[in-house]
């Protein structure tokens, strides 16, 4: 079974540019989460999809971040325009069960974003 995949693995952009990160969850997993780790600090929750719907987007830092999950399959996270403080590692995770509090989330390898 393929795990969670993320693309690209690294992205270096200049301040003001746009970047789109992609996550492909494990097949059949309805729950998809985005997290990020900035400057070696805690991994912070960004948002949670159940299928194509946003269940919780309370962690999205501001309106420069836009997440979508077309058809309830893969998800994209767009940052537009990027700022220096957006640099960090963006993780995607997926889980199967609808009652997700006890379910294990499986993480992708992350996308390292550097904004210059």
């Amino acid at each position: 079974e393929a795990g969670v995949t993320q693309f690209p693995s690294h992205s270096v952009i200049e301040k003001g540019q746009t970047v789109t990160l992609r996550c492909d969850p494990i097949s059949g997993h309805d729950n998809l989460y985005w997290y990020r780790r900035v400057m070696g600090k805690e991994i912070k929750f960004l948002l949670h999809f159940v299928k194509e719907s946003k269940q919780d987007e309370s962690g999205m830092p501001n309106n420069r971040f836009l997440a979508e999950r077309t058809g309830g399959t893969y998800s994209t996270l767009k940052v537009q325009p990027a700022e220096l403080e957006d640099s960090g590692v963006y993780f995607c995770a997926s889980s199967q069960a609808r009652l997700a509090n006890t379910d294990t989330q499986y993480f992708g390898p992350g996308t390292r974003l550097t904004v210059l």
Binding site: N31, I43, K44, F45, A100, N101, T102, F107, G108, P109
Partner: protein
């Protein structure tokens, strides 16, 4: 609000010795506790979780963790460390009301040969 503390940024242990990576938590309800490990250039890998039942939970790669409700702790342990256990370890918590994780800051474990 939920929170997780990992009081040690770095833990060094000699190969073959027991290891402990500490985690304490704060939640309003019953906690669901997880440990993840991140090897260099890899994503977070699930090690083990406590949901309910026995306080001692066994997980992958010989790791185990003990849930202590009175001390609000969930320390990760292994009886005999391997050099290949060197990695970054994250403790995470959820409660019944929240589906996303709250992570600790991570502890870097170095196992010296």
């Amino acid at each position: 609000a939920q929170s997780v503390a990992q009081p040690e940024d770095q833990v060094n242990v000699a190969e073959g010795n027991p290891l402990t990576v500490k985690c304490t938590y704060s939640v309003s309800g019953n906690p669901y506790l997880f440990w993840y490990v991140q090897y260099p250039n890899r994503g977070l890998q699930f090690l083990l979780k406590y949901i309910t039942g026995d306080n001692l939970v066994k997980g992958s790669y010989g790791f185990e963790a003990e849930f202590n409700k009175s001390q609000t702790s969930f320390h990760l342990k292994k009886p005999s460390a391997l050099v290949s256990d060197s990695a970054l370890y994250f403790c995470a918590v959820r409660d019944v009301m929240v589906e996303n994780f709250v992570f600790g800051p991570g502890t870097r474990l170095s196992v010296l040969p």
